[in-house]
Symmetry: C2
Subunit: 409 residues, 2 copies
């Protein structure tokens, strides 16, 4: 008998019929003797509907009250799910954030879980009930409702699994696992059986939308095995687990890409202390998230500074930076929206040298120019012209042997 935490996203509970089918699936596991804790998101469309309602009321809804409003979405899902299970003849019980005791800080809209009580859930499980918990919501120290931000139900599930010391946390989604790269771009993309937390974190932050990044951090911290799998099949998905020696044998686990950034270059910046601060301060102040930053070595006391920002903030950034450039006497500001970031990820890089140069060689062979490079212990990212994205992904995927299933050692 195992204790299993499952999480179903908005699409999986998007209609009465789909909630029923999730109920049947959960009952099946329950009948195999497992204790089931089921975390649900709001029904697809519900969250957007609630946001629309709030925006209709005021352009800038009060964050505390927005959380009170948003929390109703998951409340509806768990009530309907518990009804479904009971109508099928099994016992179930829905619990909201305040009933479980999911305590968070008071950062409305992006609260972080601080503590989870397990007494109430254990009590219900002991009565042989299927327990369903509203995802995405918690309670702060004042007794007020908070929400964890988009994708927060993943975090709820993983945090619950950690608190309850569950055997596994299954994240059900509309894809059947984590792929070596986007199958829409590279038809030879393969579903991974295993991936390490660190690799998953890099994959997530680089644009793969399977798991919410905070939930992976949580899983890593408390060593919760995550099983990412499809609601619509019974296939085994991808296990996200602690790094093993076996994983290191594979050089590259996946290829990620991101077309949502733009590049800004400031030419001939007088290179003196504090200059980077003067340039970036107004950008940070505006809440713009800068990703890569690159500064060339200085020549004749002048340097070039290049960085990337989300495409949505491109024009605002150009305006801010052009103002600063003028004040500090830089030559000019160049911008480019037609870029993409292509990355290879793999814990194997930790122990294998020369992966970066392989990557540059592969791209060079296709005449793809590299504009920026950024590396970490387990990933290498290159900024290239956007039009080469798909080509770059495909050649990297093939060259690093991702097209074929790795042989068992």
């Amino acid at each position: 008998m195992a204790l299993i935490v499952q999480k179903y996203g908005g699409t999986s509970v998007g209609s009465i019929e789909r909630i029923r089918s999730v109920a049947r699936r959960v009952i099946e596991s329950h009948l195999q003797g497992h204790q089931m804790v089921v975390v649900l998101s709001a029904m697809a469309g519900q969250t957007d509907g609630l946001i629309r309602l709030a925006r209709e009321m005021t352009e800038d809804p009060d964050p505390r009250e927005l959380d009170v409003l948003m929390a109703t979405g998951e409340q509806i899902s768990v009530a309907l799910f518990a009804m479904a299970v009971k109508s099928m003849g099994y016992d179930a019980c829905s619990l909201l954030g305040f009933q479980v005791g999911i305590y968070t800080d008071d950062l409305y809209g992006k609260a972080r879980i601080q503590q989870i009580k397990k007494e109430r859930i254990l009590k219900e499980l002991e009565k042989n009930r299927i327990v369903t918990v509203a995802g995405f919501q918690g309670l702060d120290d004042h007794g007020d409702i908070t929400t964890l931000g988009r994708g927060g139900s993943d975090t709820t599930a993983v945090a619950l699994a950690a608190a309850m010391k569950a055997d596994v946390c299954e994240i059900y989604t509309d894809v059947d696992g984590v792929y070596t790269t986007d199958p829409h771009v590279c038809p030879k993309a393969r579903k991974l059986n295993l991936i390490s937390y660190d690799e998953m974190l890099e994959m997530a932050s680089l644009g793969a939308k399977v798991l919410e990044i905070r939930s992976v951090e949580f899983a890593k911290k408390y060593n919760v095995p995550i099983h990412v799998r499809s609601t619509f099949s019974n296939e085994r998905g991808t296990m996200v687990v602690e790094e093993t020696r076996d994983m290191e044998k594979v050089l590259v686990s996946g290829v990620a890409f991101n077309k949502n950034e733009a590049r800004v270059t400031i030419r001939k910046v007088p290179d003196r202390p504090g200059i980077a601060f003067r340039i970036f301060e107004p950008v940070f102040e505006s809440g713009i998230v800068v990703d890569m930053i690159l500064q060339n070595t200085s020549e004749d006391g002048l340097t070039d500074l290049t960085f990337t920002v989300p495409k949505a903030d491109f024009y605002k950034t150009m305006k801010l930076v052009s103002d600063t450039a003028q004040k500090i006497g830089a030559e000019k500001v160049l911008g480019d929206e037609n870029i993409a970031k292509v990355s290879i990820i793999g814990v194997g890089m930790r122990t294998h040298a020369g992966v970066a140069s392989r990557m540059f060689e592969i791209l060079a062979k296709e005449n793809i120019n590299i504009m920026m490079i950024s590396t970490s212990e387990i990933k290498i990212s290159c900024v290239i012209e956007e039009k080469y994205t798909e080509l770059a992904v495909r050649v990297l995927h093939e060259a690093f042997g991702l097209d074929v299933e790795p042989q068992k050692s």
Copy 2:
């Protein structure tokens, strides 16, 4: 400075624009220096939408989970209302049943309030905030969400007013007060300035739909003055208060009627002990609410038994009673759906004799036959043919002087 509890129904908060206009109204009172506690119902249509969702899931939704589902309606209203107030530059705070501490028994769907904590509300009021409380919902001893049943927000408001020792509980609705009778039936119906709790209870149970009956019982028990008034005007409405000596000077305060009942008669029932039990047991067992019961004096050991039930239960009742009649050897069962109950209500009846005979005389003059009579200390009800309802209401209204404003003594 007064402490005012206001309650707005579903129509009053039926759209974003209407919630805004309620917010403006509340802010106005707040600016006059009053402490404001605002109880809201779900937006019109929301409750029915949620019930539809539950019934789509299963014919017989689990009561506990139905309450979890239903409670989201009021949660949405209070969040939007608090947003509206804040967007207008004033401070507000929404509180749900569990946050206030509205404790009830665990009769899901029709829970009764047992205790209300006032600490959290007081804390928010001290911060000069407008406090809005989700109506209709509470929390039981297990920490589970309960709802108070239809019209439960009235009860929430009155119970809060009682707990907080509020100066007044204002119930905002789509009519501007309590009338001497239905203005659609009798154009000369007058709005009452004052009515006693007992009269209001009789009016409510006899079909006037202004106030939920339990809220009036609550108000009577804790002596909370209720002001029933319109959301859509600034007119003074009707005060529901403790009986005063002045009220006794008025013989009849109102005329009520009810067309939703049907009559069942069992002819020539062998009159022996336990016979009423045998007849009514299957009816009660089926959850059918019997209103008036009338048994004639026995003649030759045979008696006639007549009673009324809701029209919706008429056929079911006829079937049940016919079965029993056969078993006990009664002659036959007669049914009549075309009846109405017309009642006159007034605390003045306590001290004035002869009101009943006046009523019979007035109806007789119009050749309206009385089929059944039932009386209490402060009301007299007659069952008549349905087609005479409007006529009966109008002649009683005029004959008892309700057409004209009573003179101040």
